[in-house]
Each structure stands twice: as C-alpha cells, then as structure tokens.
C-alpha cells in the first residue's frame, strides 16, 4: 500500500481577490493529503509581504481568523509539505521568501530538483548564504544572482539551470507566476474565482472554494498573472510530457480531475484491469482503506463479487502514537486498522491495494485476515511491482528497502503470507489510463518506479551525496 510513499507538496496561489489568504488556506486544506507536516502562506498587500509558516495541519493554524487577518493583501501563495530534501526544521517550511534587488520574491514548490546539490555547492562557493536546506532555495539564489533587468527574465534564467520535477508558484510585488517542468512531472492547474486567477496542484483545491477549473498548465509552460491578465510563456525547449503515474495511482485526491477524467475513474479502471488479469476464485472483495477502495470497487464489478468493508480504518491517526514499552510493542497494537470480522470469517478474500512499497503493512493485514478466520487471502495489487526509487518529489525508501527489489514474485507472496499475490501489469496500467500501450521510446508517463526509465538526468546522484552536509546547523523549533 502506497502509504510507504509520501508526496512532498501541494501548492496554491491566487491573484487579485480580497480574501486571498483565506482562500489559500481553504485551497491548502483541500490539498492536505499532499503533505501534512507543515504549511505556510505568504501574502502581499501592495507594500509588504506577510508570512505565516507552521508545523502541523492547515486547520491547526490557519482556521484562526487572527492569522488570516495578519496575512493581508489581495494576492497570496501557499504550500503544504512533507520533507524530502531538507529536514523538518522551521526554516524549510515554504513558501520561501527573499528580499531581492528590485523587490521581494516568494516561492512554493512541488517536486524535487535533481541537480540542486551541485548548484548549491557552486553558489555557496561563490558567496551565497543559504537560509534553509531546501532544494527550492537554490532557485531563489539563482534568481538573486541573475543580472537581467526584469524579474521575470531573472526567473527564467534561473529555471534554465535547474533540472528535475517542479511545479512552482511565485509571488512578486507585481505578479503571480506558475511554472511546470518541461516533462510536466508534477501537476499544476489554472482556475479562477470571480475573475481572480488561481494556480494550484489539483482541481479539488478549486472545488472547495467553488472556483472554476480553466485548464492544466502545459509541461514547460510559464504562466504570468498580472493586473493586466494572464500571459503564457514557453521558454524551454519542448520535451514530450511524462506526468507522474503515481499521481493517478495513489497521490491525487479521487475527486480531482486530470485529463478530463476523475482520479477515481482511473483507479476504478485499474481495478477492472486487475480483475481481468487476475483469476482468483473468491467470496468477497475487500479494499485496503482508503486508497484501495476505488480499485476494489472496479475489481468487484468486473469479477462479479461482493464488495465489503472488511478492514476498518481509524481516521484519528494523525500524529504517531508512541508505543511506550516493549511489552506494548509486542502486542502488535492495531492503531490504524481493525478487521471487520463478520465479513472475513470463513471467506475466501480478495484483498485489493493500490501498490506495495515495503510490504510491512501488507504482512500485518494478511495476518489479521487469517486471525479473523479468512479461509484464503488473495492479495491483488492495482499496479506493478515498485523496483526503483523516485527522485522527483516522492519520498520513496532506499531501493534496497523496496519489497520488489528484494524478492521474486513468489518471494514477495511468501513474505506477505498470502495464498496468492497478483500485480497489475505495466500494460494494464497504460490500458487503464486509456492508452493502447506504453510507448517504449517516448513513455507517456513518468513510470520509473516500475521501469527504472527516469525522465531526466540525475545529476546529484552522480555528484557524491555524502560529500558535504547541506548545513552544519541544527536548531530547535
């Protein structure tokens, strides 16, 4: 199950609305699934920028009207995050801000740069002082040093130097700017509310405030919003689009719309493809909640089996519960999942999950199924084995911790302890996405976790990661 994967961010920006920061807070709340560690908003009131950056959930801090009142102004950008590059210190909470020659620049970034460590080393050698350990600050430092006269030129100058995945929103004293990397690995959409343009990661952040969805930002596109309207730039040499397949399989909210269809529909289709590929005799289809539900519904329909909630999830698990003693740890505390015994006892169960990363939760769920009386447990996964790490903003384990890189299919089945284990084929994924098949020469998705076929160079991977620490400073919050 994909909870071993963690997305690193969601972004939101709005220009020209009197409630800019309140709407940004609501938009970020809708994007909370993309990052739960920290949240920040920067607004601009025509004279000053105002920042609030906090650890925790959006609602922990930004549902306080006093906080919203401090974020005055008619434009704002915001960010929710997990840590990928950089630790969880306060100084890494985005949006980042810099006082540049000619005005302030705030930046919120979803994705991960693959050459930021190398760029950072060069910048530090040239005298740059970094405030954070975030790869995103590299962009600000590059902008700061660009000698072009206009801010937008300096920004594009900086963008030409970075590699990797980046969906960015910037706020200047004059503009809201959105940028999507040349492959469009991370998502970015344009919406509007009563004429005020919005840039955000998913359409669900438009829905929450009743905003209109306009269109997806193109891979490689730079959108510049000013009081005079919206301008679209294409400063990069064109590349073929490869949006991240995991947005569809796991990350995006089921109600978000991508390429004209809901994420729920893509997952439903993955379940249907899986049912066609798998041939399992069973009595009931049970999803691993919540991410396995749409695929399980699709599977059940195709397999003509009853769909039942056989696992109940406790939604109050937010922060980690510490298990204070060895004795308690040995109890195998069921903090997050419990079995709905009456739907499992005596049954041949098809257990549907969206993916397997480390396999630790899968093992536990299968064991709980048998303890609850399941006759057979068939573990069916609505995506292929994950064999390769991501470097574009998904917090994957090290390659050697991925279950699929350690075991053969049989080995994985034995590890998990199920009667059978089935993965959806790569071709099945592409069919579910509406493609005839995967184009080997120009894959339609960033699917490197399954294939090892990365969309960009991985500069920092060859650059020795352990050569230097990003910062010598540790500071408590």
């Amino acid at each position: 199950m994909s909870e071993g994967l963690r997305e690193n961010c969601g972004v939101f920006g709005i220009f020209g609305h009197e409630d800019a920061s309140a709407l940004t807070a609501l938009g970020l709340h809708a994007l909370q699934h993309r990052g739960q560690e920290a949240v920040g908003i920067v607004s601009f009131d025509g004279l000053q920028f105002f920042a609030e950056r906090k650890l925790g959930l959006v609602g922990d801090h930004f549902s306080n009207p006093n906080v919203i009142a401090r974020l005055s102004g008619s434009s704002a950008i915001g960010h929710v995050r997990y840590a990928t590059t950089g630790n969880t210190a306060l100084r890494n909470i985005q949006p980042l801000f810099a006082d540049l020659w000619g005005g302030g620049l705030a930046c919120a970034h979803n994705g991960n740069l693959t050459n930021s460590r190398m760029l950072r080393a060069e910048l530090v050698r040239a005298g740059a002082i970094f405030q954070s350990t975030s790869d995103t600050e590299t962009i600000l430092q590059l902008v700061a040093r660009d000698r072009s006269p206009r801010m937008i030129e300096r920004l594009i100058g900086a963008l030409h130097q970075i590699e990797g995945a980046f969906a960015l929103v910037f706020l200047t004293t004059k503009k809201l700017i959105g940028v999507r990397d040349p492959h469009g690995i991370r998502p970015l959409v344009l919406g509007s509310l009563n004429g005020a343009p919005i840039l955000t990661s998913e359409t669900c952040a438009l829905d929450i405030i009743g905003a209109k969805f306009e269109r997806e930002i193109d891979p490689g596109e730079v959108v510049v919003v000013t009081e005079d309207g919206i301008e679209s730039l294409k400063p990069f040499p064109p590349k073929h689009p490869r949006p991240c397949i995991f947005e569809r399989i796991y990350f995006a909210r089921p109600d978000s719309i991508v390429d004209g269809k809901s994420i729920y529909d893509y997952r439903h289709a993955l379940g249907r493809e899986l049912a066609q590929e798998a041939s399992v005799e069973a009595d009931v289809v049970i999803p691993v909640p919540d991410s396995g539900v749409p695929a399980a519904i699709g599977y059940a329909i195709t397999a003509n089996l009853p769909f039942e909630l056989g696992i109940i999830r406790n939604h109050y698990v937010g922060r980690t519960f510490i298990q204070p003693t060895q004795k308690i740890r040995e109890l195998g505390v069921r903090l997050k999942h419990n079995i709905n015994r009456s739907r499992v006892n005596g049954k041949r169960v098809v257990l549907i999950d969206d993916s397997i990363v480390r396999g630790t939760t899968s093992v536990k769920l299968v064991r709980m199924m048998y303890e609850a009386g399941a006759k057979e447990v068939h573990f069916c996964v609505a995506s292929p084995p994950i064999c390769h790490p991501d470097f574009y903003g998904i917090d994957t384990p090290l390659e050697e911790e991925l279950l699929a890189s350690q075991y053969s299919l049989d080995g994985m089945r034995d590890f998990i302890g199920a009667d059978s284990l089935t993965f959806l084929s790569l071709e099945g994924v592409y069919r579910a996405m509406g493609m005839e098949s995967r184009d080997i020469n120009r894959p339609q998705f960033a699917d490197h976790c399954f294939t090892g076929d990365y969309p960009t160079r991985l500069v920092d991977e060859s650059y020795d990661r352990h050569q230097d620490q990003l910062s010598l400073l540790t500071e408590s919050a």
Copy 2:
C-alpha cells in the same frame, strides 16, 4: 446524516497491568469517534492517583511517553467526551476524582442522568460544593455523603438515587468497578488482556490492544474487579433491557461487536431493508461518507445497482475552519465533501444516509449532486424520521430544530430538494436488528428519538431547567 448527533463519551478501565495507562490511552484512541473534545486518564499506583485531563484528541496529548510515564500504576480509567451537561471547561473533563473518607474515587461516565439537576440542587442546599457542572459529579457527591461503611455500599447507595443512562467505570484504591444502568441504554463490555480485566464502551477498544472480548455487562449489573477476581452484583430491581438504537445506527464503530454481530452487519441489514421498502429506479447507489457506507453497500446488493463513491470526504476536517468573511461564507465552501463528478453526471442517483437530524448537510449534498449533473436524486435514509430529542447522552438539537418535527414527509423532501425521500420504517429497523417486530409494551430498544417512548422518567425536564445556573463561575483554560 447523523453528524447532527453527538455521542457524549467513551470509557475504558483496566486493572492489574503494568502498562495500564498506555493501554488506556490506546483504548481511548479506538473510542475517539465517541468524543473528540477532551480526554482524560486517571491511574493508581498503590499509593497515589495520577490525573491528566486535556482538551483535544487522545493522540494530541497521550502519545507522549512522558505523559504516560506520569500516569504510573497498574490500574487506570479513561474517558473521551463531548460536552452535553456542562460546558467545555477543563473542570468538566473526566475522569472526575474525589478524595473521600476512606480513600480516593475516580469516575468516568458515558450517558446522562435525567435527575441530576434536582439532586444537585438538594446537595448544594445541604452544603456540597461542586467542582464541575457535570452531572457525573452528582454521583461522587452522593457517594461522599453515604454513611455506609464500605465504599462499594456507598457507591450502590448513590446509584440507587440516580436515574437516566449510565455506563460508569470507577477506580478506587482497591477496585475497578463497572456499572451499566438498569435499561442498559449505554454500552459496556468486559474484556481481558493477559489476565488483566478491562471494562470499556465498545469491543474495538479491546481489538486495538489485542485483548479478548469476554462478554457484555448486563443492564443493571455492577462488576467489581479486585485482586481476588471479578464479582458481579445486581443491586437494582430488574427492568427490561433497552439499549440505545443509535449505537447500532450511527455511533458505534462498524467493527465493534454487539450481541454477537458486527455493527457493520446491522447497518448492512438496514440498507437491505431499506432497498426492499423503497422502490426507486436508479443507476447508481452513493453513500454519504463515512457513516452511510455500510447501508449503501447493503442497499446496492439488494437493489442490484452499482455502488460507487460519488462523494469524497476530506478526513482532515478536525477542528472547525472559520470562514472569515461574508464573501467567503457565500461561496458555500466545500470543506468536508466534494462530488466525484464522473460518477454522478447524467445519472439517477440513490443517495444513502444513516439518518437525518437537522437536514442542513442533506440539502447541501443534494444541491451539489444536481450541480454535478445528476439527473435524479433519490434520498434514502436507513432509519425512521427523528422527531424527539434524546436525554441519555446524545447531544440532539432542540426538538424544534429536528427536520422531522418541522415538516411532513413531503415537506422534508421539498426542503432537501431531492426527487424523492424515503425513510426506513421503524419495523424495518427492528427486522434489520433481527427482531420479528417491535414489542410495543416492552420495546427492545431505546428508540425514543423515533417514537417519543422514553425508557425512564425525565425528572429534570419537569424540574425547571432555567431555575438556576449550574455554576456562577466562568474560568478560562
């Protein structure tokens, strides 16, 4: 949808386990759905009682090992709560504690007394000083004044004076005591973990720590746990059991077991009964998440219609998001629910909810359905109309705020704006519970919200509620 109803509590107690307070914290975490405002634990280490009582979720405070370490001892009781009687001040957070002649007494209470205001007035007149405004303190004050030599006798003396619904756990210097009111309105079960007895509101609190379910406490039973074992007393004149029907319809967790069946099964059966009573032509069955899901699955199977998640719920809504300006309020912000448009557009939808209280959310969801392109919306409710308030620990609105007490069925349908509105019949409910029918003379459940047939006298209702304030003191936390 039953979110207009709020349960007032969950309780947990364990005796004779070295990790008593950690296990209590975990048990309360599993009961978090029963109350999210405040949580408290009192432990006893053979010499001293230790208390921690806090506003917020269990995990906000009790996942800190230092807090657990302060709650030393091998016995502990705990409580999660909503406010019903009394406000949310710190002084009302349970377990309550009193230093009595002969030792300390801690108490955690699920339910509500129907004669506590009258008893309180008498006690104050006689010189009692109340610490809280909670009805539960009345029990402690009665115990304090009883002149019987033994604590258990004083406790039973107090219990004879109170009326209403009460599932209680007490901790003394020697005993863990569980009490369920004569009608068994609120639930209480007995479990054990490696020989350590546990008393708690639902079986899911046993499952989380891998404890064994022993049995339900009988209505009117007093269970006394000491180092010498478990003793069962039946001090009350017998009454016929009337457990609260809303535990099955809405409150209890789907994986909890009541009377040998899972709550999920009861709700599934409610959905099946509903499908048989309702005759709706439709394309898809959509639940109001999360509480409507089991009934919707049952409905879909019986009606032979596809079950789909047409409404996506944002589980990060914990604390209320404040909507700072009029303009934003007018947006009709979709904080909690969004429509999965692709499953609704162009469809005839059966929308399944477990119940309707005020109807405000129902109106909003129906409107969202039409906005998403639904051709027809048939609102089907897996329980009868709620016409009467509860006085036993469910925080119902005033009678005049209940939708069903304001409108006829047609009026309700018009209010909600659906094409049709169907409620499950009272007899349907009883059938789903496995009864042949409701016994008019001795109803098998506390179903007064549907029928107005209350299981006990309502002393405080005749006693003028507005005669006096419970306390003249307001203190900030």
Copy 3:
C-alpha cells in the same frame, strides 16, 4: 538573611469601580514581593463570576488587556501566593471559589490556619469533597454547611471555627468582605479610590493606583462593603493584638506604612539599635542587598562609618537557574550576588543582614568577602536568632534546619566563618519598634520565631500531621 523565609500571600479587593480587575492586577503587582509563585483574580459583574488563576508573576499574565477584559465587573478580589499548606498545583491557586446555596463565594487568604487539618478530616468524614489541598478551602466548606439564613452569618459561623492567622477578603454577589484574625497576625488595610473601597495587605498596593489609605483593619474585625457603604463587625471575643514582627523586619515593602511609620523607618531603627549594641571596629558598612539596606544605612549613621554597596545583586534571578553538571555546581556559581571588590579589598567590613534563617547564604557571602580581600568580616544581624518555626503563613524550614537551633552563638559564628557575629537583642527589636520593652504577659508582637511564645493553640501540630495525606491526587498543570 530572610530569604530563607517566604511569606505566603498578599490579598487585594475592590468594590464598585469600573476598572475593578485592572486595579486589582496593579495592586497585586505592588504586592508581588509577598508571593511569586501564582496569582489569581476573581471578578463579579452582577451576574457571573470570572476567574483567572495562573502560575507565575502578575505581569506574566495580567498585563494582557484580553485577560483583564475577561474579568469584567465592578468588583474583584485577587491573590499572590507562595505555597505553604498545599502544593503548587493549579487547583490551589487563589482566590478559591464555591457555588453555594444562595450564590457564589470567592475567597483570598493571607495567613495559615492552625486547625485546618483537623477540620478538614471532620468535613471529609461528613461527606465534603475538597477541590484543593489549601487550608483556605476549609473556610468555604464550613460556610457551605452552615445553615444560617444569611451569607454573612454563615461566614461568621465558619470564622468562629477556624484558628490561626488569617487576613481574608471575600467576594459575594452583593458584598466585599474583609476579615482579620483576632490577634491581627497578618496585616489588612482599608483604602479607597474615588469612593470605591479597597481591602489589601499593604499600603503600597494603594499607592500604586493613587488610592487613599483609610485605616488598618482591627484585629478581629469583619468589614462588610456593600452598595450601601461599609459596616464594621466585631464578632470575636477580644484578644490582645500581636501583629507578626517579621512583617516589619523582612516581609513588608519598605515604603508601606504600618502604625503611622514606614517599614523603612522601622528597619532603619533596627540598624541604629544594632549599632548601639554591637561594638565593632570597622572601615565600612555593607548591606546584604536588598533586604539589609535600610538597617545598614541606620547602622552606618549611628556607627559613623561609610555605607557602601559592597555586594551587587542580580535582579534578573527570577526562576531558578539549574546547574546542569557536577563540575558547574563545584564552581560555586554566583547567580545572585557578586562582590564589588574595590569597596571590600583591604577593609574591615561590617556586613548587615536583616536576619539569619539557615545561614547558607551567609556562609557564601562571608567567603566571597574574604576572597575579595576583606581584612575582617563582622556579621551583624538586625534581629535576634530564629529558633522556632512559624505556623501562621511564613514558610519557615523545619526547626532542625534553623541555624540558631543547631548552634550556640559561637558555633554560628564558626559556621558562618566571620570574625564576629552579632544579633540584635529582643529588647532592641522592641525599642526599635517604639516600645519601651517587651511585655512578657502580653507580648505586643507575634515574635514566636525568636521566643517560642505562639499567639494561638497549634491544633494541627498535636493532630498527627502524617496521619493522612491531604489528597491522593497528583495532576500535572
């Protein structure tokens, strides 16, 4: 030096002023020297009482206008405290409040009852539940149980049962009431601001707000302030006054006026008497700051020696600095005092302190003097040896920890390490207070710490202190 002694409280109450709670906060700030652990204010607005009770200094919490705004109403009482009876838990912070039959009652107490443990045991046996471990709550519980029809009668009924030292202010829905114990051990004065009566511990709390000093409350007097004016009752059989001598020697602020003279003047006179009794050849008179300064000035004038600040005190020592390692502790860190070397080096020094309790600071200061080059150090104390503990609200060490109960005069001198050690005689103290001599049969002061002659019975001392704990409950704040 008297810092081994800690006063237990200061009180303030005002009736009929629109800024009642703000003025109470200011008054308590002026009384901060009487207690720095906790502070509370209760106000009454005609309908409700409002309480704020916090650990820390007055300014930490009550300089916040929001806090003052929450304490609405035109009457208020407040309290600053050290712990004497009872620990520092939140539940012991005064003013205490009780919802009684007939209305609320708030109480703030300076002093200590000598029969409260016995009364508490009787009350608990009779069914009373205590909220705190404070002796003050005994008074509220006695009032609660009194069956007299009028609140003032119930209050006087309770006062007849308590023994010890008590300067009390009460706030009811109608009245502000001040009470001083029959011996007048603890101080209480009456003042007024624009017609609004004020009751408080010292005149300095009147000065801070520009209020007029009216008179001291008589020993045994009960002052009742209502909208109709001020009434004085004398419900107790008359006793001869014995105000606490330590208020003059150490506790009260130097600018407070007692019996027509400033506390500074009394201390100045103690220094002058000391100079006449001591015959020391020396070069300079140096006070132990700040409490020894007035006596040292008096001494220097009489002895015709220069007065110099030879010890510099760091006033930022508020909370205790923890000394993290053994190595650091061995440094003998000078957190609070440093020597002004140039005024000590090569000199014969008279070091003046107001009193000696344990002697630990004295040892340290004498050693620092010699290290700074003092040729001789003559330690002169402006009061007699303290041989007996106090039970009236001064937090004295156990008798066996008092330096003067462990050693002869020579032994004390050796312990302290000074060249000579001189205490002012008891008769010298009385002369400095303006008396001809101490009246052995009816001593004019509560001087039991010097003489062992206690003004009241010590009921709780014979009642076994260790028979029972006041409370079995420990709760973190």
Copy 4:
C-alpha cells in the same frame, strides 16, 4: 535617568570547556542588564553547530537542562540583545549563523555599524539574500563573498569594510574569535576558566562562573583562540581609543572592572565631583534607584548629608504592564517607583540621577516628591546634558526628543519642576574618570552624546535612511 537609553547587546564566548553552553548561559545571565529582549546561544561539537534563539530573558529558556543538553560541544558563543537596527523578529536574534564555503560561522555582535545600510544595498544588488534585517548579517555576507583562502583572512577582509562600533565574537569549526573596533567603543574582555579562554563584554560575566579576568581586548585587536592557544592580530591602522563613556555612567554593572577600577567607583566619583560642583543646601540625599545609587552615595559623603532610600523601586517590573483604560492611565499608576514618604516629608531633598534623556520619569519623580511633602527638591545629575543621539549601539531617542536639545538649563528645570537642576560638567566627568581634563583633539572617550563629536563617519546617516526598507517581509513568531 538613563533608562531612556538602552544598550543593544552583551556577548559571551568560551572555547574548550565541556560545559561550554551552560557557562555561556550563566555568563549571559550576568550580562542580562545589557539586553532583555532576546537571547541566543550557538555551540559547536566538532561536527555540528547547535542553535537556540529565543525572545525573553536568559533564565526563561536557558535554565532548562534539556536546552543546555541540546547545545552540545566544548565551544559556544551567546548574545543578549535589545533591538537597535532591525525589529524584534526571531530572525534577528543572535548569534547569527551562516553555512559558508569551508564551514560554518556564527557571530554575536555588540555595537552598531554606521555603514551597514549602504553595504547591504550593494550586497543585495550583487545577489546576496539576507535572512535578517540586522546590521550584523552584513558582516557574514561580506565574509561569504571574500575569496581569500583562509577563514580568518576572509573575516579580516570583511572587517576592513565595516565602520562603527563592534565588539564581536565569532565561532568557527576551529576557532573562537574576538574583535573590538578600532576605537574600542564597545567593551570586550578576555578571561579564562581552568584554561578555557573566554571573551565577553564585562568582567561580571567572568565573576559569575568564577573565571579569571585576563585583560581587556585592545581597540582594533582581533583575538584568535584555537586549540593551540591565543593569537593576537592588529589588522587595522591604529586609532586613538575612545571607549563609550556611557558604559561607565550607566550601562555596565557596578561590579564590573574597567581599566582597573570598578564601575561603582567611577560612579561614586561622579557623585563626589557633582557635590563639589553643585552648591545645594539640603537635608537628605536620595538616589533614583537603582542606577543613581553609587553617585548618590558619593555625593552624600562629599556633601556630608545623610543618604536615604527615599524612592522604592519595584523590581518585578519586567514586561510592560498595559494600562487598559483611559481612566486608569489618568491615575498616573506608580508601577515602578513609590516614595518612601517618611524620608521625604518636610525635607529639602537632593535627588541624584545618573543622567537625563527625555526627562519624563524625572518629571514624575519630582512631582511625587512634592506630593510626599518635600520642602525643596534639587535635581542633580551625575553627567552633562545629553544633546545628541548615539549611532553605536545605544538606542537613543531622536534628537528632537532629548530634553537637553529642546530646552535651556532653566527650561529643563521648569519642565522637570524642581527647585534647582544641576548637571555635572564635562570636565567633571573626565576628572571622575581619573583624567586631568578632556583632550579636545583626541578625546579619551566616545562622548558624542554630550559633545556631538562622533568618533567615526556616519555613512548611513547621509545615505538616505528612508530610501528602502530593509525587508519587505513581516513574519509572526
């Protein structure tokens, strides 16, 4: 009284002691009088730097052993501060830290640069991103950009570009470095504890930990402490020393030693000089506490008048007490000072203060004196009139707010309302400092507040201060 002046900082650094951060905390506690707004410590453990930077007093945060434990390592530097350049935001709390090419650099600064705004503008134009609005960060940015191979060379390169007053301590991965500006305007001393070198602002920070005073750092000296010992560099062209006269008159602690004498002695001498210059018939000498005390003692001895504490100061005034209503403000609340009436009533009073800035407190004290019955009040000031602002780290009011720049001597006397007003002459100050007279060509002190003769250029004063904001960002803490 000099409380209208606020010092901007105290610094402390220690190298090679296992309790480095604890000793730094204690040293800063002794320097608390130099800044009470914020405090920070950075330590280095051989691999990592650790920072803790907080608003509030040293004891509020750094008496917690957990905090000290987090600051591991055998070298540390620390800082207490008032705000001068820059606001009170968290980002301005020192020590500042930067990850530079070649290692980390932490910096704590007492003083103020007079060309930092100009330098900052140049650096920002060249691409530097500033984290703070502090002038101190300019130094770090200059070091970052210097291309010299060794850190110490880069540091000296930066120092050559800055102007103004600076006592600096730096911590690198190898060194503790101390720097005093060429005029030695701000103080810096060298001490040692068991062989571990210490650099700090005043000797009282050595005394608190029992460290040995070695010597004052010379004006223009750079002291480099490494494991191999202490090296002294003199990289600047020599200038004649002009230490700030206000350190002696007001800022330094009375027990600190400067130039072989205690600060107390200098102030005592100022009082003696004042008595010789002033010819006032009077009955008593009363200091404005606490800063006026040493001068008043000196005055009283010379004038052969009794010294008495006629004004009592409340030392619990830490944070500002807000006066919530107009009515209360009109009361003229005496938060900080009260008159000891018995020493004033009917007397001719000489009131001694160290200096007058705005005069607002002086007015109030004189009025309180008369209200307390003073027959005459002669206000004598132990320094000359302050006519000019400071730009070297003392937070002076604008020139037009200085009393002495608004009025003639008679006008000041009338404003203050005293019977007479006397200032010590400039020559008197120099005599009290042990000089024969002020050297007009090479004044021995930075005495520009009296004379307008500034020791350095004031570059930023001609550079338009309002040309740009230092930062466009406002962030809440």
